[in-house]
Amino acid sequence: MSKTVLQTDKPEPQSTMQPGRPVLQLENLSKTYTLGKCDVPALSNLNLTVNAGEFVAIMGPSGSGKTTLLNVIGCIDKPTKGKVLLDGIDASALPENQLYKIRRDKMGFIFQTFNLLPYLNARENVELPMEGRGKSKEEQTKRAKELLAMVGLSGREEHRPQRLSAGEQQRVAIARALANDPAIILADEPTGNLDSQNKQGIIKLLGNLNLTQGTTIIMVTHDSQAARNTERMLLLKDGKIMKEMQGLHANKKKQICPHCGAPIQVTDEKCPSCKKPIYASDELFSS
């Protein structure tokens, strides 16, 4: 993806969010699945606070509870115990007929398999979450076109998903996640189904969204390249946060080499000046 819509070196974030305000607080969160007679713990006593404008990567081996955590945060799954505070609202206490509003207004979902509706074109997919929010058809279309332009899909608005590449489909999904200006973007393996070129485009796009728009992003990923382009990296194991590390974006949204401090591109594997690997995935998992 050669087209970069948002410049990473733009100095001032244009976020309407106040940075530092906690948008997500997890308190003593536990989630237990019951399989037959066995209780399988997916999350146990997990505590986490994410502030507005943060870009958090959640990593961990299979079965560590990553997706469960994301689902609980996204209010599409309920915790067994503990609290989920979203923008100060206790979502874990809300009934299902209220939760959909949280999902619609506070959350934006990005899926590994994109999950676009195949019978709707790109614009219509982006308009979908805006339904039921009292916006006129024209406003919805205008907003959808803006968002599609922002993710680099100007001129492809009327294409159906099957006529878009995987990367383009994920861009549409990102635009859809942004439609209602959510407090948090939840991304579940957003690069998992993409080839390396498309993957880098998506990594760049998410990074730029966070840097320039101040979008809060919580991303579950297996991909170290995707993970290091965040501010915080959480390593999840057995339903607990085992390790927390700083990402490349941690240094005031500047992209610099952690070894020599030289400016780097988000997609660089090695520092262009000191030639050291910028982030080794081994490092994260060697605990």
């Binding site: 689902n71 996204g74 599409i76 799954d77 299902e96 007929n97 959909y100 509003k101 999902r103 619609r104 207004d105 959350m107 934006g108 979902f109 899926f111 999950n115 509706l117 195949p118 019978y119 709707l120 219509e124 308009e127 979908l128 979450p129 339904e131 039921g132 859809r176 996640a177 209602n180």
Partner: protein
């Protein structure tokens, strides 16, 4: 992007499935609307049959009443030499029928060759005389009587509703035949009748008795009417004999008459009978002042025997007969019609209950089709439902989406069903509903009813706008019923589980 266009796109996305479902539902709905159409048609037919039968029953009842009140008066058997002088100049005149007998004007004997008077002279004497003499061959044939009898009976007796004077005369040729009897051989002359003139009173006081006075089965033209003169009503045989149709003129005994109509005879006795006004008949047969029979109508059936005996007392020379025997025949006919009516009613109600059963079955079947198709659709789109809920669709929005798809599908099917029904309703209705064929065929007078009552001839099973609306309403109702549960299932899908579903 509205919910409706999403539903449309979802349906068109699975074209083959939608097509199959629409065809299946369309046929079911066409059955559903054809059945009420058939029921309506059936009711209409049954009503027509009922009213036809009721009319027939009433008519038969009226005929029975009139027959019961009817008293036939005539001058017994024709005895040659009875003392009646035949008018001169007519065929079969005095010469041939010796003894002043009036044999020439034979009645409508049941045999076409009957009616000729025999000259007593020819058969006189011996054993033969005993058999042939005295006009035994003229049995049942009326002899002319003076018209004064009519006035006499009409004015002097009570309990009489009307008196119908009739003059009957036959026209034909004398045929000579050899006759052997007990070794005796005789040459006799008999009449070969070509037509019989029935002079009937076309007077206003008898206007309510015209159905009995005149034939009713008119096949061409019209019947004689009160006051007609110079007109003739021919039987089909007469028409062939004269070679004349309606509007033509025919020559009867030297006088020209206009044919007003042609009737189909109801019995062998009238095959050669043509009807004229009494006064015309009297004039052309030179019988002015004479009649051959009187039919007296008593005011009610209870008076018949007293009136009959009064007539006998007043004029002992008259043979007075009442038509009791006709009554039983007519009663049988009446009971046949009554039974047919009951059959038609029973058949109608059976049709209705069958229709209800069939509609229940079709409604169930149709709902099940929608149910299974929508359940399958929901299962197939579990992931999509999860996505929709994750991006903020409420349960009710998801439910509405799937309900709408089901309803839309059945609405399209409804249109297809109505289209099929427009063409096939008569066939479907007659296949599915028992016919009203319970009306007896071949019974006199019932044939035409049977013709209209055959359910197979169901061009009447047409779709009224009400039925079309009903069908469309049913389609929507079934779509709603059938997709209610699947849509509820869809709404209840938990997004986390849906996301894991592949």
């Amino acid at each position: 992007m509205g919910i409706v266009s999403r539903a449309v796109r979802n349906i068109s996305r699975r074209k083959m499935r939608a097509l199959l479902v629409i065809i299946a539902l369309g046929f079911a709905l066409s059955i559903m609307i054809s059945i009420p159409a058939g029921v309506l048609a059936n009711e209409k037919t049954a009503n027509a049959v009922s009213s036809n039968l009721s009319n027939l029953i009433n008519q038969t009842g009226a005929t029975i009443n009139q027959t019961l009140t009817q008293i036939d008066c005539s001058l017994g058997s024709s005895f040659s030499g009875f003392g009646f002088t035949a008018p001169s100049g007519t065929s079969g005149g005095t010469g041939t029928y010796g003894g002043g007998g009036y044999g020439g004007y034979a009645g409508s004997g049941s045999s076409s060759s009957g009616g000729g008077g025999f000259t007593p002279g020819q058969f006189g004497g011996g054993t033969v005389g005993g058999y042939f003499g005295g006009g035994a061959f003229n049995g049942g044939q009326a002899n002319p009587m003076n018209e004064s009898l009519y006035t006499d009976i009409n004015s002097s007796l009570s309990g009489i509703a009307a008196v119908e004077p009739v003059l009957q005369a036959s026209e034909g040729n004398n045929v000579t035949r050899n006759l052997d009897f007990n070794g005796y051989s005789r040459t006799i002359t008999i009449r070969d009748v070509t037509y019989t003139i029935e002079g009937v009173p076309l007077t206003s006081d008898l206007s309510s008795y015209m159905n009995q006075i005149l034939p009713t089965n008119i096949t061409a033209g019209s019947n004689l009417a009160v006051g007609d003169s110079g007109d003739v009503l021919l039987s089909e045989n007469n028409s062939a004999y004269f070679g004349a149709g309606v509007g033509d003129s025919v020559n009867i005994l030297g006088q020209s008459f206009t044919v007003v109509g042609i009737y189909s005879p109801s019995s062998v006795a009238d095959t050669q009978m043509l009807y004229l006004n009494l006064s015309d008949a009297q004039a052309i047969t030179n019988n002015t002042g004479y009649i051959t029979s009187l039919t007296v109508f008593a005011q009610n059936s209870g008076d018949v025997s007293s009136v009959a005996s009064e007539i006998s007392a007043l004029h002992p020379e008259l043979t007075v007969t009442t038509a009791q025997d006709k009554e039983s025949a007519l009663s049988t006919e009446e009971s046949t019609y009554t039974a047919a009516l009951a059959n038609a009613d029973a058949s109608d109600s059976q049709t209705n209950s069958t229709a209800i059963e069939e509609i229940v079955v079709v409604v169930l079947a149709t709902s099940l089709i929608v149910l299974f198709v929508m359940l399958y659709t929901v299962k197939e789109r579990t992931k999509e439902i999860g996505t929709l809920k994750a991006i903020g669709f409420s349960n009710s929005a998801v439910m509405t989406q799937f309900m709408l798809e089901g309803v839309l599908l059945s609405m399209i099917a409804g249109v297809v069903g109505i289209a099929i029904g427009m063409v096939a309703a008569p066939t479907i209705a007659s296949t599915l509903l028992p016919s009203v064929g319970a009306v007896p065929r071949g019974t006199a007078g019932a044939t035409f009813i049977a013709g209209t009552a055959r359910f197979g001839a169901l061009s009447v099973a047409t779709l009224t706008p009400e039925i079309v609306l009903l069908g469309f309403g049913l389609a929507i109702l079934l779509g709603t019923l059938g997709s209610l549960y699947p849509a509820w299932r869809a709404a209840k899908i938990r997004p986390a589980e849906a996301m894991r579903y592949e």
